[in-house]
Symmetry: C2
Subunit: 328 residues, 2 copies
């Protein structure tokens, strides 16, 4: 059985995911919705999608759809995730999942009760490389530190962009830092006990943010993210015996070879790689498989809420300019 996808809006990122649905095994895109039927039809034609709906509601009412992909701005996620869950649709929702942790917990709870899978749109965790890198962490001795970075640079700050709109829950923490927070969770598998952050604000959202995080066993993490620094997307996990470095953990530079390095402290980095993987295709395949088997995984909503918790604490720390303790 092929999982039948509906796409809830024609946002920019939807193009990438529509193509991924097309390429993925066990998935097919059957409909797209826009607030305007004209726009929906044009987009459906362009992407070879059979059906167009003139409202999100109409798509959710479509009985031929198993799963929806929600690429709307963060501030609209709650409304449409809750609606989709009521219609029994499984939900892949862009990140950040919600405006805050409380909202994300509510969304997770509603989905759980409705028996639908909820997953956020963090693609890199689905890449074949991520599992391989995770295995390699065991070669680093006792882990001591995770450092990450994710930035890109606008030449001119755009006047209208959801990333800078506080009403749409914009800001680089939710947009970029979210990936770094997830990477730190991915490496350590636990919440920080304390966080500290400092941010540069434009239009009352973070333009740039630097973070420091404390974990058990005196492990540390730090990251920076921003819309004001040339594209960087690296991750380093360092332990007592070596370190792992990946210079494109969010968006691999190449689909044919995704690399990382293991360093032993002598300058001789061992390059390792996996071939031929398109992470957004893998994400769709993973999700479609969950829908097909009906074996829903709590892992995904849990990781999402954890990421939200970390980001919320960081946002609060940056606003208050002081370290924030997290409940154990």
């Amino acid at each position: 059985m092929t999982t039948r996808w509906g796409i809830l809006s024609t946002a920019h990122i939807a193009t990438k995911v529509a193509k991924a649905i097309e390429r993925a095994h066990g998935a097919t895109a059957v409909a797209v919705a826009s607030r305007s039927m004209e726009k929906a039809k044009a987009w459906a034609d362009k992407h070879g999608i059979p059906k167009a709906h003139g409202s999100y509601q109409a798509l959710l009412e479509d009985p031929e759809i198993d799963a929806v992909y929600i690429p709307l701005p963060p501030a609209l996620h709650r409304e449409w995730v809750l609606q989709a869950a009521q219609y029994g649709k499984h939900i892949l929702c862009e990140k950040p999942l919600a405006k805050n942790t409380a909202e994300s917990i509510e969304m997770v709870e509603v989905c759980r009760k409705a028996g639908v899978q909820l997953m956020d749109g963090v693609m890199w965790v689905h890449h074949d490389r991520s599992d391989r890198m995770k295995q390699d962490l065991s070669r680093l001795g006792k882990l001591r530190r995770v450092t990450a970075s994710f930035s890109f640079c606008w030449d001119v700050i755009p006047e209208k962009n959801i990333r800078l709109d506080p009403a749409l829950a914009g800001g680089c923490l939710g947009d970029l830092g979210y990936y770094c927070a997830r990477a730190i969770w991915w490496a350590y598998g636990e919440l920080p006990s304390k966080v500290y952050a400092t941010a540069r604000y434009v239009n009352d959202v973070e333009m740039n943010l630097s973070a420091m995080l404390w974990f058990s066993d005196e492990r540390m993490a730090s990251f920076d993210c921003g819309f004001d620094t040339q594209m960087r997307q690296w991750l380093e996990v360092a332990g007592t015996r070596g370190s792992l470095v990946c210079d494109d953990f969010v968006l691999p530079w190449s689909e044919s070879k995704a690399r990382w390095w293991l360093h032993d402290g002598t300058g001789r980095g061992e390059e390792r790689s996996v071939p031929d993987c398109v992470q957004e295709v893998r994400m769709i395949e993973h999700f479609s498989e969950l829908v097909r088997t009906g074996v829903l995984e709590a892992r995904w909503p849990n990781e999402t809420v954890t990421t939200m918790r970390i980001c919320d604490a960081l946002a609060q720390s940056a606003r208050q300019n002081m370290p924030i303790d997290l409940p154990g």
Copy 2:
């Protein structure tokens, strides 16, 4: 005229610098001193140095010495720098220069009045690569962030080691973080306006420290250092148009080729390098040249005091667990 060097103690690092003096143009090692004549003689024989002195005082009184290298533990630097200055010796002193900023300012002032050059033993700034990398910073657009790391790992925490002795001003901040602070100064050329640090203490000295630094124009820096994480010694300077990465800025992996990369945000890093440079030899040559010409450079003591200021503020921040503002 060849600059005639005296080495003030047979500390471990003195071997490396004695070899550098031997290899450097315009420099010769004429004497070594130890608190025991026997030890001084044995070390002089082993390293082919003509003269041995049974006390530091005796070496300073030796009229055939132009410059001294002081590899003693940090807590002894003040005493012997002040003494050496009184005897009109030019002074290359291991880092950290002093126990604190006030002490370093006093030492700089005494040397200035005595008309002798004072320089700390940070070698990497003398490497041919450093000037080339500095030129490359202009290709990065507006600088936004410096991130650095310097660590190595003891399998077992040594019981007797000056690095962990609070009485000898030990700790990873002065020992390793000093290089990171210098690199940040090297890139930005200004003092931070604010710093924040957190540390793990063993024996009341820092075993590991994570730092965050604020600069004008909303530029940031961060670094980590520690005795508890496998050797890492990387530096990243990121700007609006690209970033520069060096993975061995403190101790180049190779003497025949020292490399760094320029990244433009597309994943295609441009590797650049300089050939055949031994940074400790360059350091001795630079210093010997200053002595030979008599044109002393205020740059070196100034950089040292700046580095001390940054480290002191970081140490204070870590102890007090709060950000520290630096006077403008």
